[in-house]
């Protein structure tokens, strides 16, 4: 954060956390679409992201950031989630270990799980955009000076 007025406005309250949630959901959707596209590809190993782990990491990062509007929200979770130097979230799904149920064509996929995750990702994304819309809305009200 270079400390400009607008930056500090956008880096307040829930906004940075919601932004991270959106980036994460987008990356998760990309992972699901790859898994579903390759559902019958011989030898393809499904990729996974630990959403609960990400949420724990996000909570820890929020606790560390506190209410300081000039401090960057730095979420990192193992190999999967890294916040790079510019503050962007980079998400790298890992392969599902081979020990889990392995089918005769060398894949380890469950389309049901993927579709459930798809619904979950969509709802998370919608929730985050709704909340973000709310916080932008109150900012807009403050700028206009009318309710």
């Amino acid at each position: 954060m270079n400390g400009s007025f607008l930056d500090s406005l956008a880096n307040r309250g829930a906004t940075p956390a919601l932004e991270k949630m959106l980036s994460y959901s987008e990356a998760r959707l990309a992972m699901i679409s790859e898994n579903v596209a390759n559902v019958h590809t011989p030898g393809y190993r499904a990729k996974q992201l630990d959403a609960a782990g990400f949420q724990r990491a996000l909570r820890d990062a929020l606790n560390e950031k506190g209410t300081d509007a000039h401090k960057r929200l730095d979420v990192s979770f193992g190999d999967q989630v890294v916040t790079d130097a510019t503050g962007r979230l980079s998400v790298r799904p890992t392969e599902v270990p081979v020990e889990s149920s392995l089918l005769h064509d060398g894949t380890n996929q469950s389309i049901e799980r993927q579709m459930a995750m798809l619904a979950e990702t969509g709802m998370t994304y919608e929730l985050a955009t709704m909340l973000l819309n709310g916080s932008f809305g109150s900012l807009r009200k403050a700028i206009r000076g009318t309710v």
Binding site: S33, E34, V36, N38, G122
Partner: protein
Amino acid sequence: MFGTLDTSTSALTAYRTQLDVIAGNLAMKDVTRDASGNPAPYRRRVALFSMGRANGDDRAGVHVASIKEDPSPLPLQWAPNHVDAIREGKNKGYVRVSNVDYHTEMVNAMTASRAYEANISVMEMSKRMAATALRLIA
């Protein structure tokens, strides 16, 4: 977000190709001669799926790497009056027919169309998510 749509599109193309192959197999089940009229029963084709997009693009996706002939043996069918019936030897009176099996093809067609639908669902979700994100700006 739009890259996600491309991933799903590659899968749609691949499954469409697989369905084409299945349609071809079903259409040519009873073929006992090749295009120039020589006796050569039709061999079942299979679409082989491979990771990454077509033409060496290794971004997330799937494509049909090749369409191969099924090497399984061609079954014999009892049809002594068929013009292509075997005239002598222990298989006299039989005709070599294609190794297409209706049941296998129908099951494969169902799997392919379900996979097609699954990819459509992912596309719908990508579209919906992009739309909600765009509403933030508008």
